[in-house]
């Protein structure tokens, strides 16, 4: 009953506020500052911090009302929302004050500085070091696989502050200013020609002591929060479709923002194998007349559909309250199998033309991009081997392997 009432109240309140304030001719920043001040941009956030402390069930109502008038939302894309979630949970008031507003106005963009050349699967093996010197931490080392670092303002940095503690206990978590001389951002080109990631080199880069998130040595715990939100984000909770016209200054600015945000991800659908194209392609090439090809298409579609329905079952279980757990690895592993199978079937269908690439090749090069992008899916975001370990240990309860990385990190074998 209670929530029923407040739902009506909330709907009335937000509707009134939008009627009074929404204006497509405002600048993106101006509008989002209104959102920050009113708390309607992130209604689930605490009232103290640009929110209204609403339960998620009511956030949906606010989203619906925003959608109804086509109002632009607070900035949510990319690492930004991971930064916000992490700071809300572990950040100091000073840090929240410094960063949260410009996160949700979208004026600042953020990147994640966890992976290193020497620690990919083994994230906690980071060797980028931070040493306290007076009021500053001095950072030296290298990070990699950083999305959009080249136009980020701040980075979420995992660095080692104690070499005598065990691996997971010697790490600390910082917010680092990317736009400083000690930080050098280089693009990293992939085998499919895209450069969606960066390498980031630190040479005596500075982090003010006040930018330490959580305590010294709490880095791994804080990073887990970031990663948990990243996983949840991967589930892709989509907002309701927006009604209303898309004209007006603010929409133009938002489109530009989204374009920049999505630029690194244009090849991701190809990485997943573009199962959606398989049957069309079979028909347009005439490969559908070959019973051998049909068998392979069927095997692929059976796997892909089953994976889709497995994800659906997992979500249903979550909605019945079960936390999104290691089952996530099921979807990740299934996605790898599906993508590899899809690449095989696309080759089978495309035949000799699969030797070509670029705009003159099938589907303006999309097919070729599938073939050279699929190898990434079983690596990025945790290799298939890591996913199998997670499933075996956390879902099936099989014992861990004997560890070789215990004791002081200083003495642990490294690259």
């Amino acid at each position: 009953m209670m929530s029923k009432i407040s739902e009506t109240e909330v709907r009335a309140e937000v509707r009134a506020w939008l009627a009074a304030n929404w204006d497509p001719e405002l600048s993106l920043a101006a509008w989002r500052n209104k959102l920050a001040d009113s708390g309607w941009g992130m209604p689930q956030w605490p009232e103290a911090w640009y929110g209204r402390g609403l339960p998620m069930s009511l956030v949906r109502v606010v989203d619906e009302e925003f959608a109804a008038v086509g109002a632009v939302s607070a900035a949510k894309s990319g690492v930004r929302h991971l930064a916000a979630a992490t700071l809300l949970e572990h950040g100091s008031d000073l840090q929240k004050k410094k960063f949260l507003r410009r996160i949700l106005t979208g004026e600042d963009s953020w990147c994640q500085l966890f992976s290193e050349p020497g620690s990919g699967s083994d994230l906690a093996g980071a060797t980028t070091r931070a040493d306290l010197n007076g009021d500053n931490w001095i950072v030296n080392g290298q990070k990699v696989w950083t999305t959009s670092a080249h136009h980020a303002d701040h980075g979420l940095l995992l660095a080692r502050t104690d070499w005598d503690a065990p691996k997971h206990e010697g790490l600390s978590y910082f917010v680092i200013d990317i736009k400083q001389p000690g930080v050098d951002v280089q693009p990293l080109k992939q085998m499919n020609g895209h450069a969606s990631f960066n390498q980031v080199f630190f040479t005596d880069a500075l982090v003010p002591a006040e930018n330490l998130v959580g305590g010294v040595g709490d880095g791994w715990k804080v990073a887990m929060t970031t990663l948990a939100h990243e996983r949840r984000g991967a589930d892709g909770l989509s907002s309701p479709p927006r009604r209303g016209s898309r004209t007006g200054r603010i929409h133009a600015e938002e489109r530009a923002e989204l374009e920049t945000a999505n630029q690194p991800y244009t090849w991701y659908p190809q990485r997943a194998g573009r199962v959606d194209l398989v049957i069309e392609r079979a028909k347009e090439t005439g490969a559908n007349k070959d019973p051998v090809v049909r068998q392979e298409i069927a095997k692929l579609m059976i796997m892909a559909k089953s994976a889709e329905w497995t994800a659906r079952r997992a979500r249903a279980a979550q909605q019945q309250g079960r936390p999104q757990g290691p089952e996530g690895s099921l979807g990740k592993l299934a996605a790898s199998n599906v993508a590899r199978a899809a690449a095989r079937v696309h080759t089978l269908i495309t035949g000799t033309e699969a030797m070509l690439t670029g705009s003159a090749s099938p589907r303006d090069g999309i097919i070729a991009e599938i073939l050279v992008s699929v190898p990434a899916i079983s690596i990025a975001g945790g290799t298939d081997e890591i996913q199998r370990n997670i499933l075996a240990e956390r879902v099936l309860g099989l014992p861990k392997e004997p560890r070789s990385d215990t004791g002081p990190f200083r003495n642990v074998r490294k690259n």
Partner: protein, 320 residues
């Protein structure tokens, strides 16, 4: 009403039976015969025939395949000839589940001189009727008994009315494929559980074998395999229950998915058990043999994959 009244409940039962490898004549009587009667029978026939089957008083089965083991109804050659009252059946059926113990036989036959889907219909007769000759076949899977049944002018009654043609039979086979898929994922789950339990127990080289990545990753792949096949089987049951127009294609999808998964999982379960898993006293082989027999029962995976492609209109289907 619709195709799938009770499909979800039916599949929950078959999944459990598959897991426990129960050998009750449930599949023959309820999944095959009762569904056929529900799909084809007149109200009068339903109320005359179904209660006995539901109560378990009478066992029944459905005879479709003939000596060539073809599951495509168009291949049916057993002939029904109309007589004063009813029909006379002439021909042979094989691979009839529980055919040696069934009291009531539902038989798919065609009118003389017809071909393809034309002229197909379902008939019922008592297994003890004159002109019916039954022989138990030696089946690899001791938990699924099969019989050959020869009909020499055996007197039978038409189920429903003849102009329904092949549809009730096709619908029955699709429903059975979904029920079988659910039975198979139950069995696959049992094989996964057994493999994991053993891997946690068995020690070699001073460690439980479940702590070796080779075994851990094998089990993880089995888990994924089983979860995917379950999703397909459950989805198909749901689709049939709500009479989703896609449900027949989902039957093909689920049967193909579950067949491959069950066999792989049973084989890996034996592998993880090692030598002991290959012995007679270790029950694993019973599930393995059930998996083998289920793989081809109601049609092999490649048959169902081709049907799926045709029903999805990927190619011009000669099927329907």
């Amino acid at each position: 009403g619709g195709a799938g009244f009770g499909m979800v409940e039916l599949c929950i039962v078959t999944e459990e039976m598959g897991r426990a490898l129960l050998c009750a004549p449930y599949f023959s009587t309820t999944v095959l015969a009762a569904s056929a009667i529900l799909n084809a029978g007149t109200e009068a026939q339903k109320s005359r025939l179904l209660p006995g089957l539901a109560s378990g008083a009478r066992l029944a089965t459905l005879a479709v395949t003939e000596l060539d083991g073809n599951w495509d109804p168009r291949g049916i050659e057993l002939v029904a000839t109309p007589v004063a009252e009813g029909y006379l059946l002439d021909g042979a059926k094989s691979y009839v589940v529980d055919g040696h113990v069934a009291d009531l036989l539902v038989v798919a036959a065609r009118m003389a001189g017809t071909a393809g889907h034309q002229g197909l219909a379902l008939f019922t007769l008592g297994a003890d009727s004159a002109g019916v000759e039954r022989r138990l076949l030696e089946s690899m899977d001791p938990t699924r008994k099969l019989a050959r049944i020869d009909f020499h002018g055996a007197h039978a009654n038409l189920l429903g009315n003849q102009d329904d043609g092949a549809q009730p039979l096709i619908r029955t086979l699709d429903q059975a494929a979904i029920a079988l898929a659910n039975e198979m994922v139950g069995g696959a789950q049992a094989m996964l559980d057994s493999a994991v339990d053993y891997a946690k127990l068995r020690v070699q080289f001073g460690r439980t074998i479940g702590s070796f990545q080779a075994i851990k990753h094998k089990c993880a792949d089995m888990l994924l395999d089983v979860e995917l096949a379950k999703s397909a089987a459950y989805y198909a049951a749901q689709a049939a229950a709500i009479d989703d127009p896609q449900w027949p294609a989902m039957a093909n999808l689920a049967k193909a998915a579950a067949s491959e998964t069950y066999l792989r999982t049973a084989a890996e379960c034996i592998q993880i058990h090692g030598g002991i898993g290959f012995t007679w006293d270790n029950d694993t082989h019973l599930w393995f043999k059930r998996a083998k027999s289920s793989e081809v029962f109601l049609g092999q995976p490649n048959y169902h994959r081709e049907l799926l492609m045709q029903r999805w209109g990927v190619c011009v289907g000669e099927f329907e």
